[in-house]
C-alpha cells in the first residue's frame, strides 16, 4: 500500500504531533507514505477568493502524484476535500480540465490527466486496513475511556464528491474507528458539529462560540478526550481552547487528541513518540488514567 503523502500547510509546521503519530501508525499497518517535496498548499484557502487559482493549485499537486503513479493520502480535511472536489469537477467537466491544463502547462510544464485517487488517512484505515485488522493489532485497549468523535465537516461533505461513504447527517466511520480502540463513543449528538475554523480570521467571536458549544457539551458529558482528524479543527478546539475558556468563563480543560495518537497508544507506542507533549491542552490526566489501566506496561 503506497501513497504520496500530502502534508499540506498546517500539519508539518503547527501540528507535528499529527504527522509523527500518523507515520508510526502507517508503519505498523504497512502503509508506505512517500515524501513528495514538490507538493504545495492544496488550494483550499484560495477557493473563496479565486476558484480558478484553487483549481490550478490542486491540479498541479494532482499532476505531481500522477507522474509518480501514486494515489494521494492526506491527514487534513481541508486538503482532502479540495483535491477530491477538483477531481470531481474535472470529471464532470472535461473542458474545464482542458482550460486548467493550458494554464498549468504554461506555469509549470505539467498536465493532469485526471487519474489520481485521493483519500484521507482515516479513510485509508477504515477502508483499506479495516476495523477487524485494527482490532487484531490493539495491544492496550482504551477500555473505560469516553472519547468524542469530531469528524470535521469536510471529512464527509459535500457528500456528492465523497460518493456518500458517510451519512451526511449521521456519519459513522470515525465512531467505528474509536470503538475499535476499545473505547466508548461519547458526545454523539455533536459529532458532526462545525468548529467554525473557516471564519476564525473573519469573525472571531462567532467562530470561537461555535467551538465553545461543542467543548462545553463534551465537558458536561464526562468526556475523556475529543478525537480529531483535522488540523484546522484541532487548532480551534485545542489551540484556541484556553482563549475560549477565558472568554466564556468556563473551565474546560478537555484534551483534543488526534485519532492517530490514540491508535498509536493502543498499539503500544510510548506517548513521547506520538507527540503527546505537543497537544496544547496537556493530556496529563488522560495519560495517567491510561498508565493506571496497564500498571505492568
Amino acid at each position: 500500500m503506497r501513497y504520496a503523502f500530502f502534508l499540506g500547510c498546517t500539519i508539518p509546521v503547527r501540528e507535528i504531533h499529527y504527522e509523527l503519530s500518523a507515520r508510526k501508525v502507517a508503519e505498523e499497518f504497512g502503509i508506505e507514505l512517500i515524501h513528495e517535496p514538490e507538493f504545495s498548499c492544496c488550494g483550499f484557502p484560495v477557493k473563496s477568493v479565486s476558484h480558478e487559482t484553487a483549481l490550478l493549485m490542486s491540479a498541479r499537486n494532482l499532476a505531481i502524484a500522477e507522474e509518480k503513479k501514486l494515489p494521494i493520502v492526506t491527514l487534513c480535511n481541508g486538503c482532502v476535500v479540495t483535491l477530491i472536489e477538483a477531481n470531481h469537477e474535472f470529471k464532470k467537466n472535461p473542458e474545464l480540465l482542458q482550460k486548467i491544463n493550458e494554464k498549468l502547462e504554461k506555469v509549470s510544464g505539467k498536465k493532469y490527466k485526471g487519474t489520481v485517487k485521493v483519500k484521507h488517512f482515516a479513510r485509508v484505515l477504515y477502508e483499506d486496513i479495516g476495523i477487524e485488522k485494527i482490532k487484531e493489532k490493539i495491544r492496550y485497549p482504551l477500555k473505560g475511556f469516553r472519547l468524542a468523535p469530531h469528524y470535521g465537516c469536510h471529512y464527509f461533505k459535500p457528500s456528492e464528491v465523497y460518493d456518500r461513504v458517510d451519512d451526511p447527517e449521521n456519519p459513522h466511520t470515525l465512531d467505528e474507528l474509536i470503538e475499535a480502540l476499545g473505547a466508548t463513543v461519547s458526545g454523539g449528538m455533536k459529532k458532526n458539529a462545525c468548529c467554525g475554523g473557516a471564519i476564525l480570521g473573519i469573525k472571531e467571536d462567532v467562530a470561537l462560540q461555535m467551538s465553545f458549544e461543542k467543548l462545553d457539551f463534551l465537558v458536561m458529558n464526562n468526556t475523556d478526550a475529543m478525537v480529531s482528524i483535522c488540523p484546522f479543527c484541532s487548532v480551534m478546539y485545542d489551540g484556541n481552547q484556553k482563549k475560549i475558556a477565558k472568554s466564556f468563563e468556563r473551565e474546560l480543560n478537555l484534551p483534543v487528541l488526534y485519532y492517530t495518537q490514540l491508535l498509536g497508544l493502543a498499539l503500544g507506542y510510548p506517548p513521547e513518540e506520538l507527540g503527546f507533549s505537543k497537544n496544547r491542552i496537556k493530556p496529563k490526566d488522560f495519560l495517567t488514567k491510561f498508565e493506571k489501566s496497564y500498571p505492568s506496561k
Binding site: I16, P45, V46, S108, C153, K157
Partner: protein, 171 residues
C-alpha cells in the same frame, strides 16, 4: 409622511445580477430556490449571528440587490460546513453558491481583509505558514523529512490568474 430610506427602489436593482451568479461556477442552481428556509434554519453560523441568513442572501440576489450583496460583510461568514447544501430540497448547492458570491465580490473589487491576509500569506510564503530553516531544523530533530517552499510555483499560478494583483495590494 412615510419613511422611504429603507425601501428597495426598483431603479437601484440590477436585474442581470442573478444571471451573473448563475454563470459563475457554483452559482448554477440559484434560480431553483423556492425560499423554504431550510438553509437558514440549519445554519450553525446563523444560530449565533443573525446577520448571516442564506435564504435572505439568495432573495437579495434574485431581486438584483447587487451592490448590497457584494459589498456586505455577510457573504464572507459562511463557515462552509455544507449542512445547508446537504439539506436543500432544491439542490441549490448553497455552500458553493456562497463561494460563487465571494468570487464575484472579489472580481468587483470587494475582498474581506481576513481573506486578503490569507491570500497574501500564500503568495509570499507559498503556504499558510513559513517553511524555512527554523522549521526544517525542528523537523530534522524529530526525524522528519525536509520541506521545500513552493513559493515560486505558487507565484506563477497567482500571476496567470491575476490573483497576484490583489496579493500585491497595500492595505
Amino acid at each position: 409622511m412615510e419613511k422611504t430610506e429603507n425601501l428597495i427602489k426598483s431603479e437601484d436593482l440590477d436585474l442581470s445580477f442573478k444571471y451573473i451568479v448563475k454563470n459563475e461556477p457554483g452559482g448554477e442552481g440559484i434560480m431553483k430556490c423556492y425560499a423554504c428556509g431550510t438553509c437558514t434554519a440549519s445554519c450553525p453560523v446563523r444560530a449565533i449571528d443573525e446577520t448571516f441568513n442564506p435564504r435572505r442572501i439568495i432573495r437579495m440576489v434574485l431581486l438584483g440587490m447587487k451592490k448590497e450583496v457584494l459589498s456586505s460583510d455577510f457573504v464572507w461568514i459562511c463557515s462552509t460546513c455544507y449542512i445547508c447544501q446537504e439539506r436543500c430540497p432544491q439542490d441549490v448547492s448553497i455552500t458553493e453558491l456562497m463561494g460563487a458570491l465571494k468570487n464575484i465580490a472579489v472580481k468587483e473589487g470587494y475582498i474581506h481583509p481576513g481573506f486578503k491576509a490569507q491570500i497574501q500569506a500564500i503568495y509570499s510564503l507559498g503556504a499558510l505558514y513559513e517553511i524555512g530553516e527554523f522549521e526544517n531544523k525542528k523537523r530534522e530533530k524529530m526525524g522528519l523529512p525536509k520541506l521545500t517552499s513552493q513559493r515560486k510555483e505558487i507565484e506563477k499560478i497567482f500571476e496567470i490568474t491575476g490573483l497576484s494583483k490583489i496579493a500585491k495590494e497595500e492595505e
